[in-house]
């Protein structure tokens, strides 16, 4: 009896060491070659997404109800704030009309060809909570709906991130705040070139800014379109702090509570079926 117990303890210890080594092996494999593992990961995510879709619905309803109650609580304050904002916006509207007319006149003068419009598809966020060290989401649409790796993802107000792993019926998005996110941007009215680098914090940082560029708090940040990954001029965020020469950018979109996102197909727009078929247009 005692011998069996000893053997069992040995087997237990051996399988522990074996599995621990397997885990490390998988980690190293993932670091070296990502094609095979990513394929498996995508297929598994595809299979589980319908369950996540169902699970995320009650959570969405609860969040909506909480939102509704909160709004009810500070209706008066919100109303006053909106009135003030409306007044400011009306002034901007006048300026915008004037600038639009001027812009059109100038475009006609220099024979400017506007960029082609993008096709857009809206998806539901079904998986979040990637933990303390990764910032990514799962959505309920995939290649079947024309989603492809590299496409830009927008929220209601600004850039969210990009598609990094498109499965058939699901896709993973890498948020602009993730450690591995690097997005070419233009900063401020002078349109300084920089790279927006995520740091797993809520505010990504501007990298590779030229030392002489005069970036100030309050400058708007938009995508530049350099590198061909993203369409140009998508709103990203606003510079909120500059410490030690590094500028921190607050995204326009609240990335911690996304329910729906828009995926933009930036490649040349061929008819209305371009996004739906997902094929037929060269990269």
């Amino acid at each position: 009896m005692a011998r069996i117990a000893v053997l069992r303890a040995l087997a237990q210890r051996f399988s522990f060491a074996l599995l621990l080594m397997t885990a490390v092996g998988v980690m190293m494999l993932g670091k070296v070659d990502t094609v095979v593992l990513d394929g498996l990961r995508t297929r598994f995510t595809d299979a589980v997404t319908p369950i996540l879709d169902v699970l995320s619905r009650p959570a969405g309803t609860v969040a909506d109800a909480v939102d509704w109650t909160q709004q009810l609580a500070d209706l008066r304050r919100e109303n006053a704030r909106l009135r003030a904002e409306n007044e400011a916006l009306l002034r901007f509207e006048q300026a915008a009309y004037r600038l639009q007319a001027q812009n059109e006149a100038l475009r006609a003068l220099v024979n400017y060809t506007p960029a082609t419009p993008h096709a857009v598809v809206t998806a539901r966020v079904v998986g979040d909570n990637s933990g303390a060290f990764v910032r990514s989401l799962i959505i309920n649409l995939g290649t079947e709906n024309g989603i492809a790796d590299g496409q830009a993802v927008m929220g209601a107000r600004g850039l969210v991130g990009r598609v990094v792993q498109a499965g058939e019926r699901s896709a993973r998005l890498l948020l602009a705040t993730d450690l591995n996110a690097r997005i070419p941007v233009l900063v401020g009215p002078a349109r300084h070139r920089a790279i927006l680098g995520g740091e797993n914090t809520d505010r990504p940082r501007l990298l590779y800014l030229r030392p002489e560029s005069d970036v100030a708090v309050g400058d708007r940040v938009t995508t530049s379109g350099h590198g061909g990954m993203f369409p140009p001029d998508l709103p990203v965020g606003i510079v909120t702090a500059i410490d030690d020469g590094a500028a921190l950018v607050e995204p326009f979109e609240d990335l911690s509570r996304l329910e729906y996102v828009r995926i933009m197909d930036f490649r040349p727009y061929v008819g209305s079926a371009a996004l739906r078929s997902g094929i037929g247009h060269p990269r």
Partner: protein, 172 residues
């Protein structure tokens, strides 16, 4: 005594309860709550389950299952594959080693034990990610996640006890 096929199936389904509950918790942990900052501090429900079953029914929470749970966790959260298999295995090993001390103790002791395990899990998680990406990771979200997980431990334990009594009573 020969069990009929139906009885065998019934027994198998009951013995699968810990695995099913844990995998379901991984899925629930991935569900977006649309609450500010929840995404980065979402509690690690799966670890609570591993802790509970490693103490009370270690035969139904084998190492291979712990490995698989970690892998599923990584696939769904977009973490590098294998990282949480590693963390969960080490946690299981620690808890299993302290099992004789923990089994049948008052709830406060179990809670304290869980807190201790979460300290190790969080430190290991942080170290593994920092090593994987070759860069020092921010500590705050991990600490908040640990506190939230420890705070929710009683609720989930209550649920595990219900499952334990409901499905596994006649089997020990």
């Amino acid at each position: 005594m020969n069990a009929t096929l139906l009885q065998k199936l019934d027994g198998a389904a009951r013995r699968a309860a810990p695995a099913t509950v844990t995998l379901l918790l991984v899925l629930i942990g991935t569900t977006p709550l649309q609450a500010p900052f929840y995404g980065s501090i979402a509690p690690m429900f799966a670890l609570m389950s591993i802790y509970y079953w490693a103490i009370h029914r270690p035969d139904l929470m084998p190492l291979s299952l712990v490995f698989a749970i970690g892998l599923v966790h990584d696939v769904l959260t977009g973490a590098p594959l294998g990282i949480h298999s590693f963390v969960f295995l080490v946690c299981h090993w620690i808890v299993y080693g302290q099992r004789r001390f923990l089994v049948g103790r008052a709830f406060g002791v179990l809670w304290w034990g869980f807190f201790m395990m979460m300290l190790v899990a969080t430190a290991l998680d942080w170290a593994a990610f920092s090593a994987y990406f070759a860069r020092v990771m921010p500590v705050e979200p991990a600490v908040f996640r640990m506190l939230l997980t420890v705070a929710l431990f009683p609720v989930l334990t209550w649920a595990f006890i219900r499952v334990h009594r409901g499905f596994l009573r006649q089997y020990g």
